[in-house]
C-alpha cells in the first residue's frame, strides 16, 4: 500500500509544480499579486510531497519490500542498512527522485531567501524552478516509476552493484546533484531577467552567491567521484575522461566561466549577454549530462540502463527548456553592448581570456564526448577519442589561464597599470624559476615534475603577493572581505591541483609483479613484503585478503590489506588498500592467484607509489572552499540589495499600481 502512496505523492507534487510554474508567470504578466503569491506555498507543498515519496522509497529499502521492483533489483537481504539507503540512488529511477528532491531543496531555499527580492522578479524565478520540476516529475511518473510493483514478490532481491558499495559512493551523487541542480537557480534568475528586460543588471548580484554555492558543490561532487574511482576501481587513476565524468565536467567549466563573468557584469555592467548565455549553458549542460547518462545514446562504464522512450522524453524536455531559453535569449538579450568601457590592459580583459578558455575547453570536451555519435552519423563507425585527445588539448587550453592568473587581481577594472605587473612578474617568476631549478635535482630532471613545482610556486607566490598588498594597503578589518578571500583560496587551489597532477604523473611508480609469500619488492624507496592471502568475510561478502607489510629503511610504515571480494550474486570486486599521506600514497591492488585455486601461493599484485596524489583532491577542495567563502560575502546579503536596487523597487510599485 505505501508504495502506491509514494506514487500518489509524486502525482500531487507534479500538480503543485504545475501551479508553481504557471500561475506566478501569469500573475507577473497581468500584475496579479494573488497569482504571484501562489509560488511559495506551492513550492513548499511540492517539497513536502517529494520528500514523502523519497522517504517512502527509503522505507521500502530499509524494510526489504521486494514487491517494489526497484527495491528487488537493487538490494537484497544481506545488504547492510547504510548501503540499502545508498541503493535508493543506485540506479536510474531512484537517482531521478534524488534529483527532484534536491531541486526542491534549492527551490525551498530560494523561496526562503528571496523574500526581499522584487515581487515580480521573485515570482518569475520561482515559476522557472517550478517548470523545471514539472519536467522532471513528469519524466519520473511517465517513464521511470520507482514504485512499480514486481508480482509475485520474490523472496530475495538482486544486488546493489558492488562497485557502488563504498562509502564514497553514498555521498558522491547527492553532492554532485547539489551542484548540477544548483545551476538551475542561476538559470532561473537569468530567464527571469530576460523576461523582465529592463532590470537586467540587478539580478546578476542576487544570482552570484547561488552560482558560487552550486559550483562549490559540483566541485566537491567531482572530487568525491574522482577519489572514489581512485580508491575503488583498482586502476589507481583519478580521472578517465569517461562520458559520464565529462558530463559533470562540462557544467563545471561553464560554471567557472559564469562565476567570473558574473563578477564582471555585476561590478562593471559589461558582458551582460555573455553572462546570460553562460547561465543558460551551465544548466543546459547539467541537463545534457542527465540526458547522456540516461538515454543510452553513449555507452559508458557507469551509464544507467536505458530505454529509448526515456531518451525521447529527455530529448523533448531538453529541446523545450534549452531551445526555449535560447529563443528567449535571441529575442530579449541586451541589444547593445552596455557597461563601462575597458582598456586592453584591464581586469576585464584577463577575465575575458579566462572565460574564453573555459568555454572553448568545455566545447572541446563536448566534442570529444559526442565523437562516437558523430562517427555514427557520418558512417565512420563507432570511433571514440580517448585520453590522448583530452590529455593533449585540455592542458594546452589551461596554460594561458595558469600563466595569467597571478596578474588578474593586480589589474584594475577598466584600466590596469602595467607598472604594478612588473614586480609581480619578476618576483613570482624568479621564485618559480629558482624552485624549479632546485626541484630539478630532486626529480631527476623530469620535465613534468619541474613544471608542477614551478606552477605551484608561480600561482602560490602570485596569491601571496596580492594578499600582502591588501595587508599593506587596505584598512584593518577590510583587508580580506569574503569575496576576495574566497578568490585567493580558490586560486591557491588551482596551484595545488596543478602541482598534484603533474608531480603524480611524473614521479608515480606502477609495478605489476608476481609475489610469493615472504617476497619483497622495492618501489619508490619503500619495501613491500607480501605476507600471503587469507580468507575473510564481511556483512555481505567473502574475500581473499592479502597482507602486505611496508617498511622504509627497516622502519615499519604500514600494513596494507587489499581484498578481492565476492558478493552474494557472484560479482567480484577488488578493494585496493591505500596508505594515504600528505606527500605520497602507497596503493596495493590484489590481482589473481598465479595458480588458480591455490590462494596460499603466489599472487599477481599491482603496487603503486603515488607522490602528491592527494594534492589533486586537496586543490579541488580548496577551490570548493573558495566558492563557498565567496558566497558568504556581506555584499550579497539581500538587505543592502533591496536598498541599492531602485530599479527593482520601481518596478514593484508599478505593478502594485
Amino acid at each position: 500500500m505505501t508504495p502506491e502512496l509514494g506514487q500518489l505523492a509524486l502525482i500531487l507534487a507534479l500538480l503543485l509544480a504545475l501551479a508553481q510554474g504557471v500561475l506566478p508567470l501569469i500573475g507577473a504578466w497581468r500584475g496579479n499579486r494573488a497569482l504571484m503569491a501562489v509560488a511559495r506555498p506551492a513550492a513548499a507543498g511540492q517539497a513536502v510531497f517529494v520528500a514523502m515519496a523519497f522517504g517512502i522509497l527509503v522505507w521500502a529499502f530499509l524494510h526489504f519490500d521486494f514487491s517494489v521492483r526497484y527495491v528487488a533489483e537493487n538490494s537484497n537481504l544481506e545488504l547492510p542498512w547504510y548501503y540499502r539507503i545508498a541503493a535508493v540512488w543506485g540506479a536510474h529511477e531512484g537517482s531521478l527522485l534524488l534529483w527532484i528532491l534536491i531541486l526542491n531543496v534549492w527551490t525551498v531555499a530560494l523561496a526562503a531567501f528571496s523574500t526581499k527580492l522584487p515581487e515580480v522578479f521573485a515570482a518569475r524565478v520561482m515559476a522557472v524552478m517550478g517548470l523545471i520540476a514539472v519536467g522532471f516529475l513528469a519524466f519520473t511518473i511517465f517513464t521511470s516509476d520507482p514504485f512499480g510493483r514486481l508480482l509475485p514478490m520474490p523472496g530475495d532481491g538482486a544486488d546493489l552493484n558492488p562497485v557502488l558499495q563504498d562509502p564514497g559512493m553514498t555521498f558522491h551523487p547527492p553532492v554532485l546533484y547539489m551542484g548540477y541542480v544548483g545551476f538551475s537557480v542561476a538559470f532561473a534568475f537569468s530567464i527571469a531577467g530576460l523576461l523582465g528586460g529592463e532590470m537586467e543588471q540587478a539580478w546578476v548580484r542576487w544570482a552570484r552567491p547561488w552560482t558560487n554555492i552550486a559550483w562549490g558543490f559540483l566541485t566537491c561532487g567531482i572530487v568525491a567521484g574522482s577519489w572514489w574511482a581512485y580508491a575503488e576501481l583498482g586502476w589507481g587513476g583519478w580521472w578517465f575522461w569517461d562520458p559520464v565524468e565529462n558530463a559533470s565536467f562540462m557544467p563545471w567549466l561553464v560554471g567557472l566561466a559564469l562565476i567570473h563573468a558574473q563578477a564582471v557584469t555585476e561590478k562593471r555592467g559589461s558582458l551582460r549577454a555573455w553572462t546570460i548565455l553562460l547561465s543558460i549553458f551551465a544548466f543546459s549542460l547539467s541537463l545534457l549530462g542527465t540526458f547522456l547518462v540516461r538515454s543510452g545514446v553513449l555507452t559508458s562504464v557507469h551509464a544507467f540502463a536505458s530505454d529509448p522512450r526515456r531518451g525521447v522524453f529527455i530529448l523533448a524536455f531538453l529541446t523545450i527548456v534549452v531551445g526555449g531559453s535560447l529563443l528567449l535569449y535571441a529575442l530579449r538579450a541586451p541589444k547593445v553592448a552596455g557597461g563601462k568601457p575597458f582598456a586592453l590592459l584591464s581586469r576585464e580583459t584577463v577575465l575575458l581570456i579566462g572565460n574564453l578558455m573555459f568555454a572553448v575547453a568545455s566545447a572541446m570536451v563536448l566534442l570529444g564526448t559526442l565523437f562516437p555519435l558523430i562517427g555514427d552519423a557520418m558512417h565512420l563507425g563507432r570511433i571514440s577519442v580517448g585520453p590522448p585527445y583530452f590529455g593533449f588539448l585540455f592542458p594546452l587550453l589551461m596554460l594561458p589561464v595558469v600563466l595569467l592568473l597571478p596578474f588578474g587581481p593586480f589589474l584594475r577594472w577598466g584600466k590596469g597599470e602595467a607598472s604594478l605587473l612588473k614586480p609581480v612578474l619578476l618576483r613570482a617568476g624568479i621564485a618559480a624559476a629558482a624552485c624549479a631549478i632546485v626541484a630539478a635535482f630532486f626529480v631527476d630532471g623530469k620535465l613534468k615534475a619541474i613544471a608542477g613545482v614551478a606552477a605551484l610556486v608561480w600561482l602560490g607566490v602570485g596569491v601571496l603577493l596580492y594578499a600582502l598588498k591588501r595587508w599593506r594597503e587596505a584598512p584593518r578589518g577590510k583587508r580580506y572581505p569574503a569575496e576576495l578571500a574566497g578568490m585567493l583560496l580558490a586560486h591557491l587551489g588551482v596551484g595545488v591541483f596543478v602541482a598534484g597532477v603533474l608531480l603524480t604523473e611524473a614521479l608515480g611508480v606502477t609495478s605489476d609483479v608476481r609475489m610469493a609469500p615472504g617476497q619483497t619488492q622495492h618501489i619508490g624507496g619503500y619495501d613491500f613484503r607480501f605476507d600471503g592471502v587469507q580468507r575473510t568475510t564481511g556483512p555481505n561478502w567473502r574475500a581473499d585478503q592479502g597482507t602486505i607489510t611496508v617498511t622504509r629503511d627497516g622502519h615499519a610504515v604500514a600494513t596494507m590489506t587489499p581484498q578481492k571480494r565476492t558478493y552474494p550474486r557472484g560479482q567480484v570486486q577488488t578493494e585496493s588498500a591505500v596508505d594515504a599521506g600528505f606527500f605520497r600514497d602507497l596503493y596495493v591492488a590484489l590481482g589473481e592467484p598465479m595458480d588458480a585455486g591455490n590462494i596460499e601461493g603466489a599472487w599477481s599484485l599491482r603496487l603503486y607509489y603515488k607522490p602528491f596524489v592527494r594534492w589533486i583532491w586537496g586543490g579541488g577542495l580548496l577551490m570548493m572552499l573558495g566558492g563557498f567563502t565567496c558566497a558568504a560575502d556581506k555584499r550579497f546579503r539581500l538587505k543592502r540589495i533591496a536598498e541599492s536596487a531602485p530599479v527593482g523597487a520601481l518596478q514593484l510599485q508599478e505593478t502594485r499600481a
Partner: protein, 180 residues
C-alpha cells in the same frame, strides 16, 4: 542574427541526439549477437540436479530438439519467467531442459518445489564453468538446440509470452519443417 547562433548550434546538437536515439533503436547496443548461433552447441557433461550420480552429456540429448533454459534460484527475473514457462512450456513441442546455473542444489530444489517444475531434464552447473562455453553471462537465458546439437536461437533475459509467440515459436516451427 548573431543572437540566434546559440539556438542554431543547439538545434544541430538536438538533431544529432535525435539521430543517436533513432540509431540505437535500429542497432541494439546490448544485443551481442551470439557467435554460437548455427554452430554446434559446446559439449558438456553435467550431473543431474536430483541425482548427481547420473551424468547427462550433450550426446544423451541428441536426436530431438530441446530448449535449454538457464535459471537460478537467486535470479529475480527467473521468478518472472517461471510462470510463463509453466504455462507455455507444454505447448512448445520440444523438450525443456533446465540448466541450473551457479546455484546450491538444495536452494534450487527448494525453489522448484515451491514454484513448480516445468523441466523434463535438469542439469546442475554449480561452478558455472560449463556455462562459460555457452557464453552465458547471466540468468535467465535460453538456447534452442536442434536434433543434431546445433544452436538455432538464443534469448537473453526472461521469456515472455510475447517473445515466445514472436520469436521462439517461429524458430521451433522452422526446425520441424526441415526435419526429415
Amino acid at each position: 542574427m548573431s543572437r540566434l547562433l546559440p539556438l542554431f548550434g543547439f538545434l544541430l546538437l538536438v538533431t544529432l541526439f535525435g539521430f543517436g536515439i533513432w540509431w540505437n533503436t535500429r542497432h541494439d547496443q546490448t544485443a551481442i549477437p551470439s557467435p554460437l548461433i548455427n554452430k554446434p552447441a559446446p559439449a558438456f557433461v553435467l550431473p543431474e540436479l536430483y541425482d548427481p550420480a547420473v551424468k547427462v552429456s550433450k550426446t544423451d540429448l541428441l536426436g530431438k530438439p530441446y530448449l535449454l533454459n538457464v535459471f537460478a534460484s537467486w535470479c529475480v527475473e527467473c521468478g518472472v519467467e517461471h510462470p510463463v514457462l509453466q504455462v507455455e512450456g507444454p505447448t512448445l513441442g520440444v523438450q525443456l531442459v533446465g540448466y541450473n546455473y551457479k546455484d546450491a542444489p538444495a536452494d534450487a530444489k527448494r525453489w522448484l518445489a515451491e514454484h513448480g517444475n516445468p523441466y523434463h531434464v535438469l542439469l546442475a552447473d554449480q561452478s558455472g564453468d560449463t556455462a562459460i562455453n555457452f557464453g552465458v553471462y547471466g540468468a535467465p537465458e535460453s538456447f534452442l538446440i536442434d536434433a543434431r546439437g546445433v544452436i538455432r536461437y538464443k534469448h537473453i533475459g526472461p521469456l515472455t509470452p510475447g517473445v515466445i509467440r514472436r520469436e521462439l515459436k517461429p524458430a521451433i516451427a522452422a526446425l520441424s519443417k526441415e526435419a526429415p
